[in-house]
């Protein structure tokens, strides 16, 4: 596991162990080096002391040239197990007597060197002048091994290891105990954070356990929670207000919609009643009092009746127009080919507009509200029939083409057409480009087409040349 991913407790434990190990190791090395140094110095001093004693003891033996005595003196070195070799040279530098602790291969120097001790290859060796009253009688050679230091160092190593393990154990226990003061506040913080994110309850606070950095962190954390709680409650309040506002607006809209509905209802019922009376009684006048009316009277009654009928149609169209925007827009796939055939069949009146030459191209299916699209076809095809009706040979062409992600449908006729200068008025309610004497109409049909198509996500436009015909286009998103 990566160090960064370890739990804090393990991390701290490792850090403490590492520091402990480094400190102990460095201390051990220093101690060890110091010990070696001390030991070497003391060994040298000791050897020098022994050398001085032996040398002073050996003066007689050398003075009287008695190697036996010398041997005896030297053999006293047996009590010092680390002295592996010793020998005496006479004043001429010739080997006089020697001592070897065992019969090992101890090479004795052939002639005495200068007095003093030095270390060499695991040994300490040196020469000591044998003097009597500043007269040199000979030279003593002593050689000691380093066994003593190794013995002592072994003990030191043992002690060191013991200290090492004990200190590690102590460190472990101390970390375990002391760590609680660090890990407990952290864990408490983490616990609080988890509780908040789980329950979304921002009123929870973490308990502060001390005035250290973790205490400061806990304080900051709690302050942050205060702020979040405040913002949360603000947000909730805001949301509530918004919801209330939406509810109020919806109610308002609903009541407005209801008002509108009852308005249309009263338009359809109450406005129609007087019209019915006018039409009805005018008809009675025409039927039953025909003989009492002169030509002008008859013309006037017919004008009254025609206008009343027109008024009725205007009311119907207006109602259809206003009802359209309140209708659900339920879409489904429409077979345009079948729909156009159906609309065409319903609009062709035998003996009236049979002479029209139809040319219907390919019409791909679309996804839209069938009732609405049917209304569009009815209005557009109806218009073409109406405005081409005065031609010798009326022609109506219906077709489609793709344009980007839309399909464009068109209805083209060779009828009266319109003046393109006024084409912006074509799709507005009650705006007409022809007088009622020329062509009947209420000025609602194309406005309805425009409204339907824009609701379906398309657009409507038209081209024309006055007297030569018109072409109306509408686009719908590709199914």
């Amino acid at each position: 596991m990566l160090f960064a991913n370890l739990p804090i407790q393990k991390k701290l434990l490792r850090i403490v162990f590492l520091i402990n190990a480094i400190v102990l190791f460095l201390a051990g090395i220093a101690f060890f080096l110091y010990e070696v140094h001390v030991f070497r110095t003391s060994t040298q001093e000791k050897l020098s002391t022994i050398g001085k004693i032996i040398a002073s003891n050996s003066t007689a033996a050398l003075a009287f040239d008695s190697p036996g005595d010398a041997k005896e003196i030297l053999s006293a070195l047996k009590t010092e197990p680390h002295i592996v070799a010793a020998c005496l040279y006479d004043k001429n530098g010739k080997l006089f007597s020697n001592y070897l602790s065992d019969d090992t291969l101890q090479v004795l120097p052939a002639e005495p060197g200068s007095p003093g001790y030095h270390f060499s290859a695991g040994h300490v060796e040196g020469f000591e002048q044998v003097k009597q009253e500043s007269v040199s009688l000979g030279t003593l050679y002593l050689k000691s091994d380093m066994g003593a230091i190794y013995d002592r160092l072994k003990i030191y190593a043992g002690v060191f290891l013991l200290v090492f393990f004990v200190s590690f154990l102590l460190a472990f226990l101390l970390v375990k105990i002391l760590l609680k003061s660090i890990s407990l506040p952290i864990m408490a913080l983490a616990e609080t954070a988890r509780a908040i994110s789980d329950k979304k309850d921002y009123s929870v606070r973490s308990v502060k356990m001390g005035a250290d950095e973790l205490g400061a962190l806990t304080d900051t954390f709690n302050q942050m929670l205060d702020e979040i709680q405040q913002q949360d409650s603000h947000l909730k309040q805001f949301n509530l207000n918004l919801e209330n506002m939406v509810r109020a607006r919806t109610l308002q809209l609903e009541s407005v919609n209801k008002e509108l509905e009852s308005f249309s209802y009263s338009v359809s019922h109450d406005l129609r009643a007087p019209l019915r009376a006018i039409v009805g009684f005018t008809s009675i006048l025409e039927d039953e009092y025909n003989d009492k009316l002169d030509d002008e009277g008859k013309r006037i009654t017919s004008v009254i009746r025609k206008n009343t009928v027109k008024m009725g149609r205007l009311i119907d169209d207006l109602l259809a127009f206003s009802r359209m925007s309140r209708q659900d827009n339920k879409k489904s796939t429409i077979d345009m080919q079948a729909m156009v055939d159906e609309v065409k069949a319903s609009l062709v009146i035998p003996g009236n507009n049979e002479k029209i030459r139809w040319s219907i191209g390919e019409l791909p299916p679309v996804n839209a509200n069938p009732n609405m699209i049917k209304q569009v076809w009815e209005n557009l095809i109806g218009n073409s029939i109406k405005y081409s009706g005065k031609k010798e040979q009326p022609c109506i062409e219906i077709g489609s083409f793709a344009k980007k992600d839309h399909i464009v449908f068109f209805v083209k006729d060779n009828g009266a057409g319109f003046d393109v200068r006024y084409s912006d008025k074509l799709f507005k309610v009650f705006q007409r480009l022809h007088t009622p004497e020329e062509f009947e109409g209420t000025g609602v049909g194309l406005a309805l087409v425009d409204k339907i198509i824009s609701r379906e996500g398309g657009s409507v436009w038209a081209e024309s040349e006055l007297g030569k015909g018109a072409c109306f286009y509408f686009s719908l998103p590709q199914a």
Binding site: A273, R276, F281
Partner: protein, 150 residues
């Protein structure tokens, strides 16, 4: 107080509409036994012999057909229709609704409540004939059956 047999009960609050309807029916000789009430309340009093018509003999308050306007003050046509169709005494009387518009959303409601047909005003002979033909009352148009003449 009426004491003749009623064939057609016309429930219509608008006097002009009523006059035109009666005129049309009369012209086709169908209004001889027609009785006109001015609103839904009066219609219910007539049919159930209450209020103004408490003394109504049963034979008189059983019209062969009811022409019922939907939009009326006080008790509207839908409520009258509901009362007629929920009472075992009157539920068999055919009811033809009179409406101002083909697209009246109330038409569906009326059919659901048991209306037998509807006519769009102004009521002309053709549409009336069409409506009652569907109900098997064609003889009423002629009003010729000897047994009905009292």
């Amino acid at each position: 107080m009426t004491n003749y047999k009623v064939d057609v009960l016309l429930v219509e609050d608008n006097p002009d509409d009523a006059e035109l309807t009666i005129r049309h029916l009369k012209k086709n000789n169908m209004a001889n036994n027609l009785f006109h009430v001015k609103d839904g309340e009066e219609a219910l009093e007539f049919l159930f012999a209450t209020g103004r018509y408490a003394e109504q003999p049963e034979i008189v308050r059983r019209p062969r057909i009811v022409l019922l306007d939907i939009q009326m003050p006080k008790v509207n046509g839908i409520e009258v229709l509901q009362k007629i169709k929920s009472d075992p005494q009157t539920k068999d009387i055919p009811v033809v609704m009179l409406t101002s518009s083909n697209e009246d959303p109330d038409i569906q409601k009326c059919y659901a409540l048991g209306a037998n047909s509807y006519i769009v005003k102004p009521v002309n002979f053709d549409s009336f004939a069409e409506s009652i033909k569907g109900l098997g009352f064609y003889w009423l148009l002629l009003n010729q059956l000897p047994s009905d003449k009292t």
